[in-house]
């Protein structure tokens, strides 16, 4: 048998001599007329171009959207609302429906995804007809379109029902601020006995709300926020008298981070 570089190939190694071709099974593509092209180097060069265009888009995405990093994991923060990566959102959303949560959790978490995955895995044995065109096999095509529609719908529902601003705020990296203040001052006494301290922390370091150190706001502005709220802080959160609020506002406006 001839071996090595001198060996002459015609077309593709999978193309058998017509006499040894079996009649069974699908036709090999080489039996169709058409302009075939050598993979190496002709086709690979064109593929490389497509790959390069793809890579440019990929790099633009990378540079324009730096990958997110939230603050270091804190297992004691039980108020944190979790969210998986976007391609798991539809599974996560499924668990929020009544028929798939609570006592039926196993249906939403295991049974439905399990059936879908097994159906996908066993598709070749469920759809055994020789027909390949999608319109000629309505059942597999229909089920797949239904599955895609469900995934898109569930992902959409999950996205619109999630509070993205709150999610961003709850994960933000907080710079550690320390501030020196007189704990016996009237301002701090009023602050620590009001509802402010619940969200803004014992030492103004922040919590659910932002830090109050170095806000750059005047006492009047802080007074207004205490009255009318800001962002996710509703109006009327402060329950005390206007005079006390004025004292607190003046105290907060003096807070500057210490080195």
């Amino acid at each position: 048998m001839h071996r090595g570089k001198g060996l002459k190939f015609v077309g593709d190694s999978r193309v058998l001599h017509p006499s040894s071709r079996k009649k069974k099974g699908p036709k090999d593509y080489s039996e169709y007329p058409g302009k075939t092209e050598a993979f190496w180097p002709d086709f690979l060069l064109k593929e490389w171009l497509i790959g390069s265009v793809f890579l440019i888009g990929y790099l633009i995405l990378t540079v324009s959207h730096p990958s997110p990093l939230e603050r270091q994991a804190d297992p004691t923060d039980t108020a944190y609302i979790p969210l998986p990566d976007w391609y798991f959102l539809f599974l996560y959303q499924l668990l929020k429906y009544q028929f798939a949560s609570g006592p039926y959790n196993v249906i939403g978490a295991i049974v439905m995804p399990g059936i879908a995955f097994m159906a996908l895995l066993l598709v070749p044995f469920l759809d055994t007809s020789k027909e390949r065109r999608p319109f000629k096999r309505p059942l597999p095509t229909g089920f797949m379109l239904l599955a895609i529609a469900s995934i898109i719908f569930l992902t959409w529902e999950s996205v619109v029902n999630h509070d993205w601003e709150a999610a961003k705020a709850q994960g933000e990296i907080r710079e550690e601020v320390s501030v020196e203040f007189d704990e016996n001052s009237e301002g701090y006494q009023l602050y620590s006995t009001s509802s402010c301290i619940g969200c803004h922390g014992n030492a103004f370091e922040g919590g659910i709300g932002p830090t109050l150190v170095g806000t750059g706001r005047s006492a009047e502005e802080i007074y207004e926020i205490g009255k009318n709220g800001i962002a996710s802080m509703p109006a009327g959160t402060y329950q005390g008298t206007d005079e006390e609020l004025q004292v607190i506002a003046e105290f907060i406006s003096t807070l500057e981070a210490s080195e």
């Binding site: 169709y32 990093l69 270091q72 994991a73 979790p82 998986p84 798991f88 999608p134 095509t141 895609i148």
Partner: protein
């Protein structure tokens, strides 16, 4: 010179058939976008592999700085992101690549499904492909924990609770993944790191090799 080296190796190892299987085959017209623009759908598989290669390379560079331990994991990622030269780019590519690989793989799956390419004789390759899909989702799930930030920890908690709800063996799966029956902590991070960096890639390489060998053996399915 190159020819001489080739001949020297070929004389001993008979590499021409190997070269032929890897590179020296023909591309049929119906999958070539140069002839039919709509044939771009046949690029999705190749692009999935392209992103996978980028994931492997960027992941290898990330491990040069990443420390899989709860004290330092977040700090090492923060340092990588903000201090290391091009660290933001390498991490960014790994982060976005994880999404792109899912997108491309999804599109590739749909192409194979709607062209009916999974039919006889390619059933086995379809099943290998679905296996790769599962491995990729596993890589996405385990990789999400590694930065050890808030979203990582709490998303993983949910994921592990879901795994724990499997009837009968749920508790065992949870212990296997988290390293403890209750706590999700130091053990979990090192386990997820090992799974993400060693176990799943090993399985992925095996399945990818099988995927490609089967493609070379069976060829691309014919035109519709």
């Amino acid at each position: 010179m190159l020819n001489k080296i080739y001949d020297w190796v070929d004389e001993r190892l008979d590499i021409t058939p190997i070269w032929r299987d890897i590179a020296d085959h023909e591309v049929p017209e119906h999958v070539n976008p140069a002839h039919h623009f709509s044939a771009f759908v046949y690029c999705f598989g190749g692009l999935t592999f392209f992103v996978t290669v980028i994931q492997i390379l960027s992941g290898m560079f990330l491990t040069m700085y990443y420390v899989p331990d709860i004290e330092n994991a977040w700090n090492s990622v923060y340092y990588l992101q903000n201090e290391v030269a091009f660290g933001e780019i390498v991490r960014g590519m790994h982060h976005w690549g994880a999404s792109l690989v899912i997108v491309m793989m999804f599109l590739h799956t749909l192409r194979v499904f709607f062209t009916g390419s999974y039919k006889k004789p390619r059933e086995l390759n379809w099943m290998v492909g679905v296996g790769i899909f599962g491995i990729m989702l596993g890589l996405g799930f385990t990789g999400y924990l590694l930065p050890w930030d808030m979203k990582a920890l709490f998303a993983t908690k949910v994921g592990i609770e879901i795994a724990a709800s499997v009837p009968f063996i749920g508790g065992m799966i949870k212990t296997l993944l988290a390293g403890d029956e209750v706590i999700l902590g130091a053990q979990t991070l090192t386990r997820f790191f090992a799974i993400h960096v060693f176990f799943l890639p090993a399985a992925l390489f095996g399945l990818l090799a099988a995927h490609f060998i089967l493609i070379r053996r069976q060829g691309i399915s014919g035109p519709l």
